[in-house]
Amino acid sequence: MKHNAFWYRKNHLGVLIALIFFGLAACEEEADCTTDSTNVASVEFTKLISNEGSNSEEDIADDILIFKPGNDTPFQLTPTGFPLDPASNSTTLYIFREIDNTSTIDTIVLNYQREQTLISPDCGPDQRFFGISIDTSQTTFDSVWVRNAEVASVAETVNLRIFTCRYEMTNVFQLRFNYPQDEDDEVTDTIFVRRVYSSIGKEDLLQNDTIPEGGGLTVAVPVTMDSQKVQVFLETEEENSMTYDLEAFYQQDTFQAAHCLAQDRYRLDSVRLGINPGRLDTIAIENETFNLNNPINAEVTIE
């Protein structure tokens, strides 16, 4: 019995001592110095064309420089990103862009959290940046998208996407007066236009121009959302001064392409001859939407 008790205890001690050595080896501090922490938040500037049906990207990239407050030395942004101040939870940067020979300076404020860790005595400390939010109230950007709030050097997605949009919708109604060639008439006639004006706005839309026979004249007629009708007057200088008019009816709503600001959209409903049509004859609608890409919305033929 005593023999059994001895071996019973000795076995337990053997297992215990073996595990002590195993455990001592396992408790060594192991240093893994790899870190993907960085203070540079990756950023992607995207220029969009805001138009009905799509918001396609523009190929042209702006030259972008960034400055920090109190420092005149610029930093070329491409291809890195916004350097976050490693000593603060907020960074203000001035972004200088050159667009079509025009300079724009935006002030962007990045707010974020920092976390400090001592990786190991051999590796040293590490600082992580995360929880990025952005104040764009002092910028001309159309929108900013925080795609990835954690800053890392090996991130799969960029931290920030900044969108600037070029808007192609307009509030200008393009009206063309056509003066077709009379094949029977051997003499080429010309209409002298003293002015064109509309019921919206006091300024003349056009003054002292001509419409040769077989040619035409396009007039840009601004409209407003306060009204749904614009009356256009064509004042000619013939034997006597004559004024002809037509009425265009339109509707307005709001259109918003993704990542761009909402904008007003005007669409032509109908155009008809006015109270004194005179030589104005037929009217045809070419494009309903008032858009920079639509050179003519409606055509009216002059007899």
Binding site: Y8, G23, D85, P86, A87, T117
Partner: protein, 247 residues
């Protein structure tokens, strides 16, 4: 010999009581949850660490009361450590730091003995035991890190800090708490009379920080281990003294 140990372990794990039909479990006589003994112990590895590493001070103690097959365990400890950059390291020399922390911890929870006694008549836990247990743990610490900032923007020569200059910062947290849970298993083996040696293998999980500024992550949480890791495996070795209450 090995068979004897293995059969004991397996019997415990499977919950089988290898009791001889004629033998009587002594727990039946004294009561299943009767206090049989007290153990008080000190962590040996923490003492060794304190002796070998002048930058570290670690002590932890354990006390348990044996209630039949079960033990109710309470542990307490405190720790202080400091770490500074090794100036011989090129990387660290460019990025010097100093870190220090101090704090304490406690753990409470039950253990169950899985080993029958040598006569295979009882699982009473005041002798050699193989145990499994659960712990709730909480640590309180204060710590600080002095470091130099790093800006990853490089100049034309490839040097860092091209946009933001280096600054020395101090991050500190004077009142940070952490809680976690542990699954623990181990042995207690009688060395001589009432002196026992034992180890605990601990799996620590569900670590959460409470209070304080969470921006500074503790390098080590007293009683837990590396603060940046959500889970930890750790060993502890204890020297116990048993105070018998009832045989």
């Amino acid at each position: 010999m090995r068979k004897l140990l293995l059969s004991n372990v397996l019997a415990g794990i499977l919950g089988l009581t290898l009791v001889n039909a004629q033998a009587v479990d002594s727990l039946d006589e004294v009561g299943k949850y009767e206090p049989l003994a007290l153990h008080v112990g000190v962590s040996v590895n923490n003492i060794i660490r304190t002796v070998l590493r002048p930058d570290d001070t670690n002590y932890s103690f354990q006390a348990d009361v044996v209630l039949g097959r079960y033990l109710m365990v309470a542990e307490y400890g405190w720790a202080e450590l400091s770490r500074a950059s090794d100036l011989e390291s090129i990387d660290i020399a460019e990025n010097p730091f100093q870190y220090s922390s101090r704090g304490s911890f406690f753990r409470i929870g039950p253990d169950v003995n899985l080993l029958t006694n040598q006569a295979k008549t009882s699982f009473r836990a005041d002798e050699d035991i193989i145990f499994f247990g659960l712990r709730f743990a909480r640590a309180q610490l204060s710590h600080d890190l002095t470091f130099v900032t790093r800006d990853d923007i490089t100049d034309t020569n490839g040097n860092n800090n091209a946009f933001w200059p280096q600054q020395q910062l101090m991050a500190q947290n004077n009142s940070q708490a952490a809680i976690w849970f542990e699954m623990t298993a181990g042995m207690k083996v009688q060395l001589y009379r009432n002196i026992f040696l034992g180890y605990n293998l601990r799996f620590k999980f569900a670590r959460n920080f409470l209070g304080g500024d969470p921006s500074l992550v503790p390098y080590e949480i007293p009683g837990y281990g590396f603060g940046s890791q959500d889970e930890q495996f750790r060993f502890d070795y204890y020297l116990f003294y048993r105070i018998p209450i009832k045989r």
